[in-house]
């Protein structure tokens, strides 16, 4: 028994998208799972461990969903190679578990026939079996198992039903010493796909009776949600509610966290002796951690909505409704979800582009994703708007500050559409990839699954933030504190620091767009992450004018900058690629330095031009 425990048997979960495969994976492994990437590619690799009642440990791999082993997207390539045992650094699975939506068997039967050709021992998990029963769908399990030549287990992953049976069945296969036959799989030609469908149809007809009470709910909901006018209105309504939630709930909690950290900084500063260590703790550590944590609530709220809508089955509908609108700019309908995620943070957005099969469609989406107003821009926008834009009512109902905020969001979206349109026209003319997408049946989201995913996303953000933003904040503190001011110096101490010198050195370049040296200094750490610029401005001004509290940064700015400078700074922030993590992710996702460099150059150029135009126009109107 000890040797079986030492080398866990490897189980791979395969299945169509929307078959509840990931829910089954969660039900199997619970919290004993880890998320990483496959070697060399950036497809998320989810693996977990199960211990069978017999004491054997099973290592379970959740493979990306696919309709066919004939892979097209990077995700599907991973699935194919994992199933065929060709994946670099991975041993082939001992048992395949094919996960099927019991109410939608036709396509998965064809996949099963392909999987049979691979020759691995296999178990079929008929998931969502409760829904099949509720619909009165009659499946002759024994007959079906005989026809496809592998054991069948019925499961309800969301209620953890049938999980023990599945584990037992897998263990039985391993215990029986089931060994795979040599793979005879090859890419099927059109004729072979047709034959497989015919065979699947025959099996279906022999063993499955049509449901007595078919799902009419999905059809009814779709007639509203996919209605050409009502559907779009509902989509925009949903987006409105979503952003409202992000900015009201998310921001309130975020502000609370921010205030807490500011308070802690002030407390420490007043209770510790004035000196280098105190400065390090308050200006470096506390404001560093704080600048990361203030975004967490907003990101969690946004992901809560995205995951909820995804699990309900709405995201495919959103892609359907947006396909033509985005298609006009040369974007794929599936780019909608990545771009939507980019409103929280471009990093999950860029990672979500993996669902786009075609390389060019995917590259275009990656290139424009950082133009979406991510939550890291919010603190910059809020700071500048509250400092320079009066809170007054315009056009009867609208708040001028809100209007400017809306304008900045619109500028991001429009420029993204414009850039993708130009990219299409200039770099890769020609037709768009086929757009074929399943519209899954609507399902009530499982709260536990939603919670798990929201927490997972939050954790990924914190890891990224913790590993990138925080050290950079410490670096900023160092750069702006050393070397200290010489004895008897006049003017703020930061003037003499490395950051100050760098800022003064670069300043002539940014003079035409109205940036002073403090801004230039803040932009240097701001290239680490956008929100860092706020903290950096705080550092620059707080350290520069000792005695000021960080809470009054907006007031400080409004005294030190002209309105033209403030507007120019906003325009800069709509476009500037001020996020090292995004550049890093683009490098990883495209596997070359070419695209991150292209992104860096085009976004910086846009930022400079936009800021230049804004500043000069504002000065011409007497706002300099």
């Amino acid at each position: 028994m000890s040797d079986v425990a030492l080398t866990p048997a490897r189980i791979a979960l395969v299945g169509n998208p929307n078959s509840g495969k990931t829910a089954l994976f969660n039900a199997l492994t619970g919290s004993r799972q880890k998320v990483a990437n496959y070697a060399g590619v950036t497809v998320e690799r989810k693996e977990g461990v199960v211990t069978t009642p017999g004491g054997r440990s099973l290592s379970i791999l959740d493979l990306p969903g696919t309709y066919s082993l004939r892979a097209r997207s990077p995700d599907e390539v991973v699935t194919r190679d994992a199933v065929l045992g060709k994946l670099a650094g991975e041993t082939p699975p001992d048992v395949l578990v094919c996960v099927a939506d019991a109410t939608n068997l036709r396509l998965v039967l064809r996949l099963i026939l392909e999987l049979k050709a691979v020759g691995r021992p296999m178990v079929l998990a008929l998931n969502m079996y409760d829904i099949a029963q509720r619909q009165g769908l009659r499946i002759d399990l024994d007959g079906l198992a005989r026809s496809i030549g592998c054991p069948i287990v019925t499961t309800v992953a969301t209620r953890k039903r049938g999980i023990d049976d599945l584990v037992a069945q897998v263990e039985a296969l391993i215990a029986a010493g089931a060994i795979g036959a040599a793979s005879t799989w090859h890419e099927p030609a059109a004729g072979e796909i047709r034959d497989a469908h015919r065979e699947a149809q025959r099996i279906l007809k022999a063993h499955v009776k049509a449901p007595e009470r078919p799902d009419t709910f999905t059809g009814k909901v779709d007639s509203v949600l996919l209605h050409p006018i009502a559907g779009l209105a509902i989509l925009f309504g949903l987006l409105f509610v979503m952003f409202q939630a992000v900015f009201s709930w998310g921001k309130q909690v975020g502000d609370l966290i921010g205030d807490g950290f500011t308070g802690a900084g002030v407390f420490l500063a007043s209770h510790l002796p004035h000196g280098l260590l105190t400065s390090f703790l308050t200006d470096g550590v506390i404001s560093g951690v704080g600048s990361v944590l203030v975004f967490l609530p907003q990101i969690l709220v946004l992901f809560f909505f995205i995951i909820l809508l995804e699990d309900f089955g709405y995201m495919a509908r959103a892609a359907f409704l947006m396909d033509r609108i985005m298609g006009g700019a040369g974007l794929h309908g599936r780019a909608f979800i990545p771009l939507l995620s980019s409103f929280a943070c471009a990093i999950p957005g860029i990672m979500a582009t993996r669902v786009i099969d075609n390389k060019r469609d995917r590259l275009t989406t990656i290139l424009v994703a950082p133009l979406m107003t991510c939550s890291a821009r919010i603190p910059v926008y809020t700071l500048i708007i509250s400092a320079f834009i009066p809170s007054r009512t315009v056009l009867g109902v609208m708040n001028l500050q809100g209007l400017i905020m809306f304008g900045l969001y619109a500028a991001g979206i429009l420029s993204a559409l414009g850039v993708s349109f130009i990219t299409r026209k200039l770099f890769w003319r020609g037709a768009v990839e086929p757009f074929l997408m399943e519209l899954p049946a609507y399902k009530l989201p499982d709260p536990a699954n939603v919670a798990r995913n929201v927490i997972l996303r939050g954790r990924i953000f914190l890891t990224r933030a913790g590993t990138i933003i925080f050290p950079l904040m410490i670096a900023v503190w160092f750069l702006s504190s050393f070397p200290g001011a010489p004895a008897g110096a006049v003017g703020p101490a930061i003037n003499y620091s490395i950051a100050g010198q760098l800022g003064h050195f670069l300043q002539p370049l940014l003079q035409p767009i109205g940036f002073n040296w403090q801004m230039t200094v803040a932009l240097i750490p701001g290239f680490a992450a956008r929100e860092v610029a706020v903290a950096a401005l705080g550092t620059v001004y707080a350290i520069g004018n000792a005695g000021d509290t960080p809470g009054v940064l907006a007031t400080t700015l409004s005294h030190n900058w002209s309105i033209a400078t403030g507007l120019s700074f906003l325009a800069w922030y709509v476009f500037a690629p001020q996020c090292a993590s995004t550049i890093g992710v683009v490098k990883r996702e495209t596997n070359s330095w070419r695209w991150p460099i292209v992104m860096l150059v085009y976004m910086t150029a846009l930022a400079y031009l936009a800021a230049l135009a804004t500043y000069q126009t504002a000065v011409a109107f007497g706002l300099g």
């Binding site: 309709y67 033509r324 006009g328 037709a431 990839e433 757009f435 997408m437």
Partner: protein, 104 residues
């Protein structure tokens, strides 16, 4: 959109065969042919590849199909019920799917 010429197939059963790309919501029938011939090079992939993708998604001869919805702009894309599942696709990619409409 212009009224499209309806091409009549020499199908074994009576009934009108139309391209799926020309069908409107409410149209239902059976898929009678999935070809690889229209507008080569216009799909970003080879025609044979488009055909295989359609087949893999279940657009296969004999499948029941009903057009359910269409998009707001130029009635594109369309959502169809294909046997038991719902699929969205663009009209341009649906040109080579021929369906025989049910009588009535």
């Amino acid at each position: 959109m212009l009224p499209e010429p309806t091409e009549v197939e020499t199908a074994p059963e009576p009934g009108v065969s139309v391209r799926l790309s020309q069908a409107r919501p409410g149209d239902r029938g059976v898929i009678v042919d999935v070809r690889a011939e229209t507008h080569p090079g216009d799909h970003g992939v080879a025609l044979a590849e488009l055909q295989r993708r359609l087949l893999e998604f279940g657009f296969v001869e004999g499948a029941r199909i009903e057009v359910l919805h269409e998009g707001a702009i130029r009635r594109d894309p369309i959502a169809v019920k294909l046997d038991d599942m719902r699929v969205a696709l663009r009209r341009r990619d649906a040109e080579d799917v021929w369906i025989q409409l049910d009588s009535q």
